[in-house]
């Protein structure tokens, strides 16, 4: 045990020590508080939290009324973060999202331009029905997602940390929409599919929200603590064998020309490993195992593969293909 004292940590690491030690309790409190407000949808809540820990963004595909807005606003309240909502419409302009320079008159009567921040200047942004916005507006939003900064009139404004966008789209109504191009879909860390709650959960939802009861949400953690949790997430170690396993899964999507027209990019491999780390961290494990990668494969890869015409004609979905890849690789590790 003498050798144990040899490991010396840098100061930056020591600063994270207390948060790392308290992480299991922090996650427990977050899930409990969200559970006070949201009934069911545990998988969605977990995946949103994973994306936030990975500093990624999420695209949610669901029918209206399944609690997306409530979930995301609840998370922002719990973590004392700024929350804003953008309802995307075809006439929404980029400046409506990013903000614009306006003329302002000061006390002495002189006029000058002042930048008025748009809704993107928040920690958590809900971009509702993103596919209804024009491609120009979508690009402005996706640029903010990628660069985490906004440039207006040659001035660059850095967005506050943490910055998280939850974009939604309705899978049914496609008329008058602008489908997100595949290259832009790749920028979303995950695509989450929401289903209707089961009857028991719906009974509980009715009990809570059809009466006078309004759940109160308590602020649990500071924004700074969440930023430290994000830093720790990237420090979760993963073995070389599992890295190769994740890369192999992504690679398989490029080797199925009969079903997949274009496979996932290397960005998918990074995303898969990062999400697996966050999944392990939430579970209180200081290392990634195979189950973490398997659990994250669907939400990370489903929007990154472009199906071939034959596959689409035969009702083969990207989920089915990814599940098959996982089954084929079940015994490898």
């Amino acid at each position: 045990m003498q050798q144990l004292q040899e490991i010396q940590l840098e100061d930056s690491e020591l600063n994270l020590k207390s948060v790392y030690e308290k992480a299991p309790q922090i996650f427990e409190v977050i899930f409990r508080e969200i559970g006070n407000s949201i009934v069911g949808q545990k998988e969605m809540i977990r995946q949103i939290l994973i994306a936030m820990l990975c500093e990624g963004h999420v695209l949610v595909e669901s029918n209206p009324g399944l609690g997306k807005t409530l979930t995301i606003s609840t998370i922002s309240q719990i973590m004392s973060m700024r929350f804003s909502r953008i309802q995307c419409t075809p006439d929404l302009m980029p400046a409506d999202i990013t903000g614009t320079d306006i003329i302002e008159e000061d006390e002495r009567g002189s006029k000058h331009f002042k930048f008025k921040q748009g809704p993107v200047f928040a920690n958590i942004v809900l971009a509702d029905e993103i596919n209804r916005a024009s491609p120009k507006t979508q690009s402005a939003l996706l640029e903010a997602m990628q660069e985490k900064q906004v440039t207006v009139a040659n001035t660059t404004y850095t967005l506050d940390k943490p910055f998280f966008i939850l974009a939604t789209q309705n899978p049914i109504e496609m008329e008058g929409t602008y489908a997100l191009p595949e290259a832009q879909l790749d920028r979303f860390l995950m695509k989450i599919r929401l289903d209707y709650p089961d009857p028991d959960e719906e009974f509980e939802i009715v009990n809570r929200y059809a009466e006078a009861f309004r759940p109160s949400v308590r602020k649990c953690i500071e924004k700074q603590i969440f930023i430290e949790l994000q830093q720790i997430t990237r420090r979760i170690p993963i073995s070389n064998k599992l890295k190769k396993y994740a890369i192999d899964i992504v690679n398989q999507t490029r080797k199925m020309p009969d079903m997949i027209e274009a496979g996932a990019s290397p960005r998918a491999s990074i995303a898969l490993i990062l999400c697996a780390k966050a999944n392990a961290f939430i579970d209180g494990r200081g290392y990634v195992d195979k189950g973490d990668i398997d659990a994250m494969a669907l939400p990370v890869l489903r929007h990154r593969v472009i199906l071939s015409f034959d596959a689409a004609r035969n009702n083969i979905t990207s989920d089915k293909i990814i599940q098959k890849i996982l089954e084929d690789r079940k015994t490898i590790i």
Binding site: M1, Q3, L4, E6, I7, L9, E13, L14, L16, K17, Y20, I232, R235, I236, P237, I238, S239, N240, K241, L242, G286, Y287, V288, D289, K290
Partner: protein, 288 residues
Amino acid sequence: MLVVPLLDKFKSYLTWSYRTLGFFQTAGKFVFLFLLMILFNIYELAYYIPGMEKLSTSQTCLGIYWFNLGLMASGALLLTLLISLVYRLFGKGNRFNLINLLETSFPDLRTRLSTAYDNSQNINIVTKKLLEDVHVQLSGIRIRSIVPKKQIFRSCLVFLLVSGLATFCIYEGFSFNISPGKLIDDFWDNLHNMNARAAYEDDEKVVPDSRYKIEAVIIKNGEQVEMKINPTLGLGFTSQIDADTEQKFNASSDSFNENFRYSQTYSENLPEEYEPLIKQYFEDLSSR
């Protein structure tokens, strides 16, 4: 750091035991193949190699028996090396991988050990804790418990048993009454018969039997005589025989009357001049 020196220590301890196991397994395979070769007289196959017969008769230092044993030992060794190579190439050989072995033997270490080992140089708040935990667990392991004692014992036992059998067979000259040379000859004969039968059934020309190196060719007046018995030309086994012969057949058989010691015969309406010629041909054939 931390985990690596411990693993190195384990590795040096276990390497010898796995080398011993590997030796007994390979030796066991060799002796087993050698025994099979002795029992089934496989040395005969070596004589299909051109020059081997000459070598066997010309060498004087070993008797023919020991020379044959040497041939079989060489064959068994070659086969053993080949099997080992194939196993190694296809990754089926039980290559000694300490991390896999420890993770399999101690499920608590599963994934954690390989992760700690791969990240032993990447020290941060998370890996430090993992390395410390894994180090504590590894320190508590009694390395002797994962030495493959049973496997070594079993391999050694098999090796000794098969070696004993092989020694018995060598000194007693015991082998089964199976000769690969004879089996191969039989195989070729059967193959030839099958070909001939198939050709006959397809109404093709029957290949002359080359085994006795005799070609049944008869030349008369400069022309080759057709030797094939065409069933449609003769009377065959029919009742179309002359009345005198028929009468003889209908008479009661009498064992004391030697004139009636024959049955139906195969008669052929061949031209008369052919008969002495054919007779002479068969007489020549039998006198060779």
